[in-house]
Amino acid sequence: MSEEYNPKKLAAVKYRGGGFAPTHHRWVGLAVFIVLILMVELGTQTGFISNLTLPKPSDVLITFSELYNSGLLWLHLIPSLSRLAIGSIIGISLGVSVGIMIGLFSYVRAGLVPLVAALFPIPKIALLPLFVIWFGIDEASKYALIAFGTFTPTVVATYGAVDNVDRTLIRMGQSFGLSWFSIVRKIVFPGALAGILSGLRISIAIAIILLVAAEMLGAEYGIGAYILEAGSLYDLERLFAGVVILSVIGVLMSAFIGYFERKLLNWRV
């Protein structure tokens, strides 16, 4: 110690804890959106951002309200949402069941994990022509594309979650003579639910991406068709109106899953 000990000198102990503990701040996310949009609005109004680079947010809003007033919004939105819902329900339910099977049975794991690893990196959009041949140009091929796209990430998230279920709880179930089915239903599935739900966030985002891809081929109505049409006409306002709708769907889905997480996983420490 270089300094001399002086019992009269008082200094507070330096605080160095804190942080690394996420807390809930509801309005910050909204504020970020608003600030960004205001910046773009200001930039386009003053001419700092040319209107070929980005459309004015206020123009996008006007385009959106026209879309809403003309009734075209629902005409595009309803087929899109039903495709999204049907496709992802098929993909996610298959994915969860296959994921649980992989988690429970070593043979299924040995057989399917490499297959899933092989399917995962395939850009599903590239397979769209194939799906059109298999399922026709109508709705079925769109469902199939979205289902296929949500299937693989759901499988991976689910079997990871099943692997992480506390083995002592399963031993406990066995020691009380619970049937195999009871153990899966009452211990494995609830234990894996947290991991499955966080996997769903990714799956649903992928489903929205694929929705647009699917609607780019042979769809008269749908957000994807709307965006594609606007893009080919270089109508940036309409393009952005469509993109904003997709973003809103994404945010709503994420909020929906967040709600379920809080509701179903309130037992978490």
Partner: protein, 255 residues
């Protein structure tokens, strides 16, 4: 119903962990198994409970389990093993549901075991709201709910602080005094062994063999904290175990 272990041997690959263990677990008595870490005492318990199979030797059941016993061999685990997403009541109902016991019949059992373990006010609490001692009380209540013929306690108090441990020892003595049960109690804590064991099985270090069987004749309810006679027994047990524990401590773990 008595349990008989005959010539239990177990090895993982070429490593012997348990060698030639034979003993009888008498109905209505608590038998404690103590030994240095890695001597296979928890493994032995899992053999008795049928969660694992020994390489050779048998665990035999003498006589039939009582008719009203839903799960004759019932474990209490060191880490409680409560489902965190179920309430205290739900955790107990879990082990009844598979026997088709639901509704008012289940409620009656749950109320009964919760009151026996002084948990009646906590029926709707989630495990995360409970202290370690309370969680283990819930696990004991759950074990009592299936009316076991033999309770298999695997270091049940080892995850608890010493004050809570003291309270739970009293609770267990109380439970046994009110209604004697058969139990195999695995621990590394000699204090627990002398307080709760009618007989104490001392295992050697790996491969675990029976070193000595110590019987203590003092009734459980007279074994208060700091009892001189018990202290003597505890010292004696430690004399036996000391060198074993020391040698076990220096071994490399390769199981």
């Amino acid at each position: 119903m008595d349990i008989q272990l005959s010539n239990i041997c177990h090895s993982y690959g070429s490593v012997d962990v348990i060698k030639n263990i034979s003993c009888t677990i008498k109905s209505g008595k608590i038998i404690c198994i103590v030994g240095p870490s890695g001597c296979g005492k928890s493994t032995l318990l899992r053999f008795i409970g049928g969660l694992e199979r020994p390489t050779s030797g048998e665990v035999l059941q003498l006589g039939a389990a009582p008719q009203d016993s839903l799960n004759p061999m019932t474990f209490v685990f060191q880490d409680f093993a409560l489902l965190p997403w179920r309430t205290v009541g739900g955790n107990i109902s879990l082990v009844l549901e598979d026997h088709g016991i639901r509704g008012p019949k289940a409620n009656k059992i749950i109320d009964d075991v919760l009151s026996r373990t002084n948990l009646a006010d906590f029926r709707n609490a989630l495990p995360k709201q409970l202290s370690g001692g309370m969680k283990q009380r819930v696990a004991i209540a759950r074990a009592l709910a299936v009316n076991p013929a033999v309770m298999l306690l695997d270091e049940p108090l080892s995850a608890l602080d010493s004050q809570t441990r003291e309270l739970l020892i009293d609770d267990l003595v109380d439970l046994w005094t009110k209604k004697p049960f058969t139990a195999v109690y695995v621990t590394h804590n000699l204090e627990e062994a002398v307080r709760l064991g009618h007989s104490i099985l001392v295992l050697s270090r790996r491969p675990g063999e029976i070193r000595e069987v110590v019987t203590i004749d003092i009734p459980l309810k007279d074994r208060e904290y700091g009892n001189v006679e018990l202290e003597k027994q505890r010292k004696y047990l430690w004399e036996i175990m000391r060198n074993e524990a020391k040698a076990a401590d220096l071994e490399l773990i390769n199981v």
